[in-house]
């Protein structure tokens, strides 16, 4: 089976779980006495531990960013197009670390894991974690791996908020921040979309205030709806039009069943999502997005927030991204410029909407690859 794995793939990978017994104080005021972080690594850490790259995932991502878990896996990791030998984030040069964030549902402590105090699932009782909390926990992982300073912290969307937060909170622990398809904070419209998603989940009769596991059920309808809405906002009108147009499955029946291909696609996306993603995690991730606002502690002055940043930054936006439009990236870039930081900013012509950050768009990948190559060249071996 192995010969089907492409040569530029990291190949078969296995996740590792790190159990941490040092308590973690969270922004919400609660303390996680102990927790698990599940992560994967690709490539090799060099002698000086200077070639480590942290990949931060977005809302529904996880630690499985590249390669395959099994030889017969149909799908590779979520950013396999960018991570691998010879790819933009070249695993021949970098030691790439990707973890599932706290509050996730893929192996790191979160609503689906067992609360050691009760012996039952945390469910909705898992504390709400913030982007800053994630960065603290990621730093614990870095310490464990012997990485004092990341060559780069890389993320798109909610992942980009983590790279930004790293540069702000722990300025001497990274040399570069790649901030892709980001915003310095959510707009009212962004929060509104999240609230519709949360309402969909919470109003599902099977939600049971988040204790659905105890009722041996899942709020499939609500989570599915939330995913459908999310999906629409990640794509552009044009991308959807090109992919589906007004195509019909079997003609028009003058009824309320699924008729258009786009309906069928959304139904498929939502039904597959509800089987692999936890509703409480979805609620938590949307809250982490809503709360992200690093400038709040600096009188809403983003430039002052960035004043201590030491990392050099590559900021990238996509023309058709209306969830986090290029104008939102300009806010980040302008804050970095006004404090004289090293920053490069590119606006990529793309019709795929917010999801473009996951696509192997040639000019986008070319810029990331060239930038990463520069980083590789300056890493002491």
């Amino acid at each position: 089976m192995l010969e089907i794995i492409p040569a530029d793939s990291v190949g078969l990978v296995s996740p590792i779980t790190l159990h941490i017994d040092t308590p973690l104080s969270l922004d919400c005021g609660r303390i996680l006495p102990s927790y698990d972080l599940i992560y994967e690594t690709y490539g090799e850490l060099n002698k000086t531990a200077s070639n480590a790259v942290l990949i931060c995932h977005a809302l529904s991502g996880d630690h499985h960013a590249a390669g395959y878990h099994h030889a017969d896996d149909k799908k590779s990791g979520w950013w396999d197009s960018a991570i691998g030998p010879g790819k933009a984030i070249d695993t021949n040069k970098f030691f790439v670390v990707s973890l599932n964030n706290l509050g996730g549902c893929k192996g790191s402590s979160g609503p689906t894991s067992i609360n050691p105090e009760t012996g039952k699932n945390y469910g909705p009782d898992f504390p709400i974690v913030t982007v800053a909390d994630w960065v603290q926990s990621q730093a614990v992982l870095a310490d464990y791996l012997g990485i004092q300073q990341w060559a780069a912290v890389v993320g798109g969307s909610l992942g980009a908020m983590q790279s930004m937060q790293w540069a702000i909170s722990l300025p001497d622990r990274l040399r570069h921040a790649l901030i892709i398809a980001a915003a310095p904070k959510l707009s009212a419209q962004n929060i509104a979309f999240n609230e519709v998603a949360r309402t969909a989940i919470k109003s599902d009769p099977n939600f049971h205030q988040g204790y659905y596991a105890e009722h041996n059920t899942l709020p499939r309808q609500g989570l599915g709806l939330a995913r459908m809405l999310g999906h629409i906002t990640y794509l552009s009108d044009q991308a959807m039009g090109e992919k589906f147009g007004r195509e019909l499955r079997n003609g028009i029946n003058y009824g309320y069943d699924v008729e258009f291909q786009i309906e069928s696609y959304l139904q498929y996306q939502s039904s597959s999502f509800v089987e692999r993603f936890d509703a409480n995690t979805y609620l938590l991730m949307t809250k982490a997005l809503d709360y992200f606002d690093p400038a709040k502690a600096f009188n809403d002055d983003l430039a002052a927030t960035m004043a201590n940043v030491q990392a050099r930054s590559l900021v990238i936006s996509f023309t058709s991204d209306w969830r986090f439009s290029p104008a939102r990236s300009h806010e980040i870039v302008n804050a970095l410029l006004s404090t004289g930081k090293n920053v490069t900013y590119a606006e990529i012509e793309a019709h795929q909407g917010h999801d473009a950050f996951l696509m192997p768009i040639p000019r986008y990948m070319d810029i990331v690859q060239t930038y990463m190559q520069q980083i590789a060249d300056e890493c002491p071996s």
């Binding site: 410029l337 006004s338 490069t344 590119a346 000019r363 520069q374």
Partner: protein, 199 residues
């Protein structure tokens, strides 16, 4: 690799260690060259097709539309702002000129001189829009929408109370000759100015 002559003149006018903004930085050639002299700053460019070159050259490049001015930069935040061979492609050159002297303590501006005798000849006797080495585009397909002569440029500087510190006028081979010295507006193809505005 040696720099193009006009870029060399610009480079010579920039002091070591200066903080500069290069408007329309293309593939970052000038900024890369200036890095050897500890000159730092940013390049602005609307077209990202050569960003990989800039990144390779270790140049900070920002995708930006100069027609929007320079709102992202504070007053007098750069030692030198450079605008080379781009003024004629700007929608509101007078506004950009204001922005340049606002943001930079000094400005260096280079542009193709439309007062060159070949332009005048082609228009006067050929009766058509001039096409030359420095202005190779046909009138209906050109980025150059605001061409000016040396005389025009010096007038706008005077009107805006912008002082001309230095001027270099060269021919198509980027050399200055007796002709370009005596009658720059007639024989100069490229004009370069070092400007400042006492605030």
């Amino acid at each position: 690799m040696s720099l193009r002559k006009d870029l060399q003149i610009i480079s010579d006018w920039i002091p070591d260690g200066a903080r500069v903004l290069d408007l329309g930085c293309d593939n970052g050639t000038l900024l890369k060259h200036l890095k050897q002299r500890s000159v730092s700053g940013y390049g602005l460019e609307i077209d990202n097709s050569k960003f990989a070159d800039c990144i390779k050259a270790g140049v900070n490049v920002i995708q930006a539309d100069l027609d929007q001015g320079l709102p992202q930069f504070a007053d007098q935040s750069f030692d030198v702002v450079i605008l080379s061979q781009t003024l004629q492609a700007i929608k509101h050159p007078d506004f950009l000129l204001d922005e340049i002297v606002r943001v930079g303590k000094q400005a260096i501006i280079g542009f193709p001189n439309f007062g060159h005798w070949q332009c005048r000849w082609q228009l006067a006797f050929g009766g058509h829009m001039p096409i030359s080495k420095t202005l190779p585009n046909v009138w209906f397909d050109t980025p150059n929408i605001h061409l000016c002569t040396i005389q025009d440029f010096e007038k706008i500087c005077k009107d805006k109370q912008i002082e001309i510190e230095q001027r270099s006028v060269v021919n198509h081979a980027h050399k200055d000759t007796l002709a370009t010295k005596l009658l720059p507006n007639l024989f100069g193809q490229t004009a370069l100015y070092q400007l400042n505005k006492s605030l």
